[in-house]
């Protein structure tokens, strides 16, 4: 029974991978290569990479505990099967990270991931948890409001990490948290909005794109504001570092919005995903690539709006 559920999940994953233009037979080798790259990344930047891998795993676990999905599983399976399915899913998702942490002597983080994998199974899916989470973006939906509600726990965790950074006078950690929020917000744009919402627009392509970019910049700045303020109070003399990270982080907004609308109405595919990964690894590329996708997006929007 549970085996059939996982067989189906595997088929679903294969279809999703095919959809983004990646050959299904390369999934396993790709996962293997991905973990080798992560291992080297962890060796190269032991502290920051470990935090980053931990946060990505944390968010993935949070995504799997989505209310509607879990509600469906609870209604479909017995309590025992539901718990087994969820624990197995979380373990499959985290096993790579746990091995990496053990190999790189990050036993504490490995233990936390194991604990979280079990803990996330018991997150209630009652109506109370499905209620809307207030956000500072309610008058200007779409990407940030949805993204924030999907990642609020991660952002909350990053705020806590920033507070720890401030208490222990470690500005680099606070800057790292700022950068994580910037990267996280780029993922808010990965899904195209429903065509009906787009269809309702009465703006011209250029105006539409700039409206989106300015709104994104303001909304990301709102998310970064608490960390910047904390640094302004404690690291006043070195606040310029926070301003630099803030400015560099904001560059991601025109980049990802241009890329999204260059691809619209389809989703961002695997080759564009690689571009994003390359840009995040070698940041100056962002500046070089923005104009290309910006003009591509304008041309694409001319056909759609």
């Amino acid at each position: 029974m549970i085996r059939n559920y996982f067989k189906l999940q595997f088929r679903i994953i294969q279809r999703q991978v095919k959809d983004i233009g990646f050959p299904a037979f390369l999934i396993y080798p790709a996962i293997f290569v991905f973990y080798i790259v992560l291992y080297h990344f962890l060796q190269l930047y032991p502290t920051w990479a470990a935090y980053l891998v931990f946060l990505i795993n944390f968010q993935s676990l949070f995504n799997l505990s989505d209310f509607k999905r879990n509600d469906f599983l609870k209604a479909t399976y017995s309590h025992k099967d539901y718990s087994l399915i969820r624990i197995t899913e979380n373990v499959i998702l985290s096993v790579g990270t746990i091995i990496l942490f053990i190999l790189t002597s990050n036993a504490a983080l490995a233990c936390i991931i194991i604990a979280l994998s079990i803990l996330f199974v018991f997150i209630p899916t009652s109506g109370f948890w499905s209620r809307s989470i207030p956000t500072p973006f309610r008058k200007f939906p779409f990407e940030f409001i949805i993204g924030f509600r999907k990642t609020w726990l991660l952002i909350f965790l990053l705020y806590i990490l920033s507070a720890i950074a401030v208490v222990f006078k470690n500005q680099n950690l606070a800057l790292f948290c700022m950068f994580c929020i910037c990267v996280c917000s780029t993922f808010f744009y990965k899904m195209p909005e429903p065509f009906l919402i787009f269809w309702n627009q009465n703006r011209k392509p250029l105006h539409f794109l700039w409206y989106k970019i300015l709104r994104g910049i303001i909304q990301l700045s709102i998310l970064l504001l608490p960390i910047i303020l904390m640094q302004f109070i404690v690291f006043r003399e070195e606040i310029y570092k926070a301003v630099i990270v803030w400015a560099l982080g904001l560059l991601l907004i025109p980049f990802i919005i241009s890329l999204k609308y260059a691809a619209f109405p389809r989703k961002i595919n695997s080759s564009e995903g690689i571009v994003i990964a390359l840009c995040l690894t070698f940041y100056p590329l962002v500046l070089a690539i923005i104009p290309y996708y910006y003009f591509k997006a304008i041309n694409n929007l001319k056909n759609l709006l």
Binding site: Y5, Q9, I12, R69, K74, T76, S78, G127, R131
Partner: protein
């Protein structure tokens, strides 16, 4: 049968269901009506053990959940799943073998296609079909007629009639009163978390009038058009 004894449910300080005592007998169709937010879905979620609650829920079976087919008002489907796979996964969860899916496809759905390509009505019909194939003893249909065409709603009413003749316990909520009048043996009015005494077939019209009298249209003046 399903019996609810002193069933209450709160979200924080807000009491959504208040001391509900009711018996849903086997071989009968029980309708639940009430305004949006009256607590119908919460009541169903409590019966399906999707919510914690105070009070007791008693049934003929030790584990009600294992014999309960739940059709939610907005059915959930796994991403990139075909109609056929959705039916198989739900049947498999209850250890039921699906026999001759083609004959059982009463709504003539394109089962080999992705559910994401279905229309709203088709999704609802698929969810109904999956719940029926599970061979349950108890059925909860939350807004089953929403979004489905006339032909399918006639088929659904006939299915409900057949389930009733097989001695199943059926609970339905719907805002389409005419469909409820046709299929239900008794209807309960749920208002602010309190359930009324059952209205039987003879008093359905009285209930409908009672509900219509409560409709306030003066608030429409507040709308900025």
């Amino acid at each position: 049968m399903i019996e609810l004894k002193n069933l209450s449910k709160s979200y924080g300080s807000k009491k959504v269901l208040k001391d509900i005592n009711v018996l849903f007998a086997s071989g009968k169709v029980h309708g639940i009506v009430g305004q949006n937010g009256a607590g119908k879905t919460t009541l169903f979620r409590c019966i399906a053990e999707l919510e914690d609650y105070d009070g007791k829920i008693i049934s003929n079976n030790d584990d009600l959940k294992k014999h309960l087919g739940l059709l939610t008002s907005e059915p959930y489907f796994l991403p990139k799943i075909t109609g056929e796979e959705h039916i198989y996964i739900l049947a498999d969860a209850r250890r039921v073998k699906v026999e001759n899916i083609i004959d059982q496809n009463i709504f003539k759905l394109p089962l080999k296609e992705y559910v994401s390509d279905y229309s709203t009505g088709m999704k609802k019909k698929l969810a109904i079909m999956a719940v029926l194939i599970q061979k349950n003893e108890y059925f909860i249909f939350d807004e089953p007629y929403n979004g489905i065409d006339l032909e399918s709603s006639i088929i659904l009413t006939a299915i409900i009639e057949k389930l009733k003749s097989l001695g199943k316990t059926i609970l339905i909520s719907s805002h389409i009163f005419s469909t409820l009048k046709e299929s239900c043996d008794q209807i309960f009015l749920l208002e602010d978390g309190v359930i009324s005494a059952p209205f039987n077939k003879e008093s359905f019209d009285q209930l409908e009038d009672e509900m219509k009298n409560k409709i306030l249209i003066k608030d429409i003046d507040k709308l900025i058009l």
